[in-house]
């Protein structure tokens, strides 16, 4: 456990049982009880684990549909396809893996029971959104009221959560097991709309119209490299202020580097609130001498260069944009700072997500270091898509040699092929384990959990539940298998 981790609930890295973990959470017995209710030790017999949920998926559907008519039709589809897929899947898809030796285990259920904000970060293509959604679903089914903010979910995953329109408002996800008293809302971030809403909320309608029509604003609000990150933070601040949920889970934008995510808010905040924009405003106000005073460079020099770089007409648009934004300057910086503080406060946990690939783990490593530097509370690392074999007693080399031997004699082609499959899998698993160990040796105290690779992408609630079980090391699955 790293010293940066917030909350006593994380101190238990004991693998032995989920039932005791919830009880140690300081954040309220009710929640802990909720966690216990859904934990593996409870009455549900092995083999029937899926059935109460399957019933639940079709059962309350109509009642909920009536409650929220707007999303009903679409969400029902999601629930239906979820139930259908569950019926088709004969085998379990993710098994709980033994914890690698000497590595503290990420206590997912403890975190879900006690935290108020969980931020999932990592490089692109590592299953970040799926992880965020699976955590949210698990927390909701353990009795917490949860909202998950996704940035750019895969279409079918979005559909399974009823996220068919990008309307920037959290909507209830249907098909969730509410028996523990929880609730799950989900939303997709619309960054331009979030920006527009800020503008509309903080200025007169006349000025807002002027600003919304400015080409510089339009471009900034839809395509600036940091806007998405900033707006995700802004939205997180709004969700936090609304105080409608016990837990907010945030997926982070697919930045070119995972580190951009932490910097972007302050960068945009600094820009919108900054010296440079004030300078751009000055020609209309104080005149050129101020430039000499502030920069030691004449006004002429300054505008000459800027004009050359971005063009005179664009500079005019920028100046107009700046005057229109002026009233909001303080607000932007204030909120950016507030959200940044929120991220570092007790009750927030960062979960770094990676895949067992060189680049993704390197990025994860950078991110872990960076969180530490910034004093941000790191809960741990999720390594998705690990391949494993329970037949490691038969090594890849022996398996392959046996296959060659059979092939040579033209015998037992089936066994030969299956032995090759096994050898292939072991080699992949060994390579992945080596990559994971590289991370572990650099960060021995970072708790982690490995999630097995699934044959197919997750796009229904049943699949998210399985991921959630695997994330929490929920033993029920192992017994089902």
């Amino acid at each position: 456990m790293t010293p940066a981790t917030g909350g006593g609930a994380h101190d238990d890295t004991d693998e032995s049982g989920g039932a005791s973990r919830g009880g140690q959470a300081p954040a309220g017995e009710a929640r802990a009880a909720g966690a216990r209710k859904a934990s593996p030790g409870s009455k549900r017999p092995p083999g029937s684990a899926a059935s109460p949920r399957a019933r639940n998926q079709s059962g309350p559907k109509s009642a909920q549909g009536a409650k929220s008519p707007k999303g009903a039709g679409l969400s029902k589809d999601g629930a239906r396809s979820g139930a259908a897929a569950a019926a088709q899947v004969p085998t379990i898809r993710a098994r709980v893996r033994p914890q690698p030796g000497g590595v503290p285990r990420l206590d997912v259920d403890g975190m879900l029971a006690s935290e108020r904000i969980i931020v999932c970060c990592g490089s692109g293509g590592v299953g970040k959104t799926t992880t965020a959604a699976a955590l949210a679903l698990r927390a909701a089914e353990q009795g917490r009221s949860v909202v998950v903010l996704t940035i750019d979910p895969a279409r079918r995953l979005a559909q399974s959560m009823g996220l068919t329109e990008l309307d920037n408002t959290p909507r209830e996800v249907l098909g969730v097991d509410l028996s523990a008293g929880g609730r799950l809302d989900a939303m997709m971030l619309d960054m331009k709309r979030t920006f527009d809403e800020i503008v509309l909320a903080h200025t007169t309608s006349e000025r807002a119209d002027q600003l919304l029509a400015n080409p510089f604003y339009q471009s900034l609000s839809s395509s600036f490299a940091g806007t998405q990150e900033y707006m995700a933070m802004e939205k997180l601040g709004q969700l936090d202020a609304a105080d409608d949920w016990d837990l907010i889970i945030v997926d982070t934008p697919p930045t070119r580097s995972a580190l951009d995510f932490l910097d972007a808010p302050s960068r945009l905040g600094a820009f919108l609130d900054g010296r440079l924009l004030r300078l751009l405003l000055m020609p209309a106000k104080a005149g050129g001498r101020a430039y000499v005073k502030m920069l030691g460079v004449g006004f002429g020099m300054f505008t000459k260069v800027l004009t050359k770089v971005i063009g005179a007409q664009l500079l005019t648009d920028v100046s107009q944009f700046v005057s229109a934004m002026e009233t909001m300057f303080g607000g932007f910086r204030q909120r950016a700072e507030k959200t940044y503080r929120l991220l570092g406060a007790p009750g927030t946990s960062f979960v770094v997500v990676a895949a067992p690939e060189v680049a993704a783990l390197r990025e994860a490593s950078y991110f872990v270091d960076r969180l530490e530097t910034d004093g941000m509370p790191l809960a741990g690392l999720v390594v998705n898509r690990m391949h494993h074999s329970d037949g490691r007693s038969l090594t890849a080399e022996r398996s392959l040699a046996a296959a060659e031997n059979l092939t040579e004699h033209g015998e037992h082609p089936l066994a030969a092929a299956v032995l090759r499959v096994h050898a292939d899998r072991l080699r992949l698993a060994e390579r992945e384990a080596r990559l994971r160990e590289r991370f572990t040796s650099a960060h021995p105290d970072t708790p982690l959990i490995e999630v097995e690779a699934l044959a197919e992408d997750v796009h229904d609630l049943a699949g998210l539940r399985e991921i959630g079980d695997a994330l929490a090391g929920d033993e029920r699955l192992a017994r089902v298998g």
Partner: protein, 376 residues
């Protein structure tokens, strides 16, 4: 393709396209393979197919699909036979240096590899701030002024905040390399081809189209002329945008979306490189049985015993489970392959390097791309 098959070991590298591909793969994924040569395509007068004779090859793909590896292999393939190729990246991640196992690239073109037949691959990590300073110096002799601006955040402003300026500078630098003259070389150009390891599929159209956006924003001025130059390179048959995907749902979906966006933006879509292909190790019948959970356990146990191993119940069950997962994956890959084939762009395939990538594998990938006539 005997030469190719040899490189891929047991695997078979296939070029599957269109309707034929869909039918061939509708079974358990081990169906007949349709190989289409470039000359066949040309005869049919279809879309421009490989080999792609372009000056600029843009390589994009979803994160995790291995686009840097493919871009690097493509650069080697293009350089083979004595060409000089520039491989560039624009995201400041120093991915190329990692592929070629060199120290981080400075903002200076540097030779990173030789290709068979006297070819050379140079590499450059384009940095927006450096590109801006270079640009100021080149056109206005304003480098020192640029440094003053840097101190007060104006460079940051111009390169990361002013809409699109950063991407214009990056694409502008690529355009400069594509067009750079060199009288000492037979082609009269510094590089015979430029390969860009581009931003991922989710951002590629916006990145390449930034010039168009800037043309809308800046009616005149140097940024405008820079943007005009970029548009000329992208839209005059000198460029192809290749997409790298895996046979997995999300990368394929993103590829399909990106192709639609690129087409809508009138950007030249090139080939689709299917990366990390793992050939089926079981026959069609066995794949079906494995998926259905009806694999002949006794036969399996007998075979394991025959091979001199102890067929414990646990081991046989685990092997059957692994075979089932393998079969499941093969079936999903076949379905995804149909989706990719439906894009109607030429497809190329590269196998999974299960022991990880190294330079040796990179050269083999380059040969495979040439053998499949992506370039050459």
């Amino acid at each position: 393709m005997p030469e190719l098959a040899a490189h891929a070991g047991r695997g078979v590298i296939r070029i599957v396209r269109r309707g034929g591909g869909a039918e061939a793969n509708s079974g358990a994924g081990a169906g007949t393979v349709v190989a289409v040569t470039a000359s066949e395509r040309d005869r049919k007068g279809e879309k421009p197919a490989g080999p792609w004779r372009r000056r600029l090859h843009v390589v994009t793909g979803k994160g995790g699909t291995g686009k840097t590896t493919v871009a690097s292999a493509l650069a080697l393939a293009l350089a083979t036979g004595g060409q000089r190729v520039l491989l560039t990246e624009v995201e400041g991640r120093q991915q190329i240096a990692q592929v070629f196992d060199t120290p981080p690239l400075p903002y200076r073109e540097r030779k990173v590899a030789s290709a068979p037949g006297g070819g050379e691959v140079y590499a450059l990590a384009v940095d927006a701030e450096e590109a801006l300073l270079e640009y100021l110096e080149m056109f206005y002799n304003l480098r020192s002024a640029g440094k003053v601006l840097g101190k007060m955040g104006a460079i940051d402003f111009a390169t990361t905040i002013a809409p699109g300026v950063r991407d214009v500078l990056l694409t502008g630098k690529i355009k400069e390399a594509v067009n750079r003259p060199d009288g000492t070389r037979p082609s009269g150009l510094a590089y015979d081809a430029v390969v860009l390891d581009a931003p991922p599929t989710g951002r590629i159209t916006r990145f390449l189209n930034v010039a168009r956006e800037v043309v809308g924003l800046a009616k005149m001025g140097p940024i405008r002329s820079q943007a005009d130059g970029v548009l000329a390179v992208l839209h005059s048959g000198q460029t192809a945008v290749h997409l790298v995907t895996l046979l997995e749902e999300m990368p394929v979906q993103e590829t399909i979306d990106a192709v639609a966006e690129l087409r809508a933006a009138d950007l030249p879509v090139g080939g689709v490189v299917v990366n990390m292909v793992r050939p089926p190790l079981l026959g069609a019948k066995e794949l079906r049985a494995a998926r259905a959970g009806t694999l002949d356990g006794e036969e399996l146990a007998a075979g394991i015993k025959e091979a001199g191993l102890e067929p414990t119940a646990d081991l046989v069950a685990e092997l059957a489970r692994e075979a089932a997962q393998h079969a499941e994956r093969v079936a999903l890959e076949a379905a995804q392959r149909v989706e990719v084939a439906a894009l109607d762009q030429p497809m190329y395939e590269l196998p999974l390097a299960s022991d990880g990538m190294d330079m040796g594998m990179l050269y083999r990938f380059a040969e495979m791309l040439r053998a499949q006539r992506m370039v050459g």
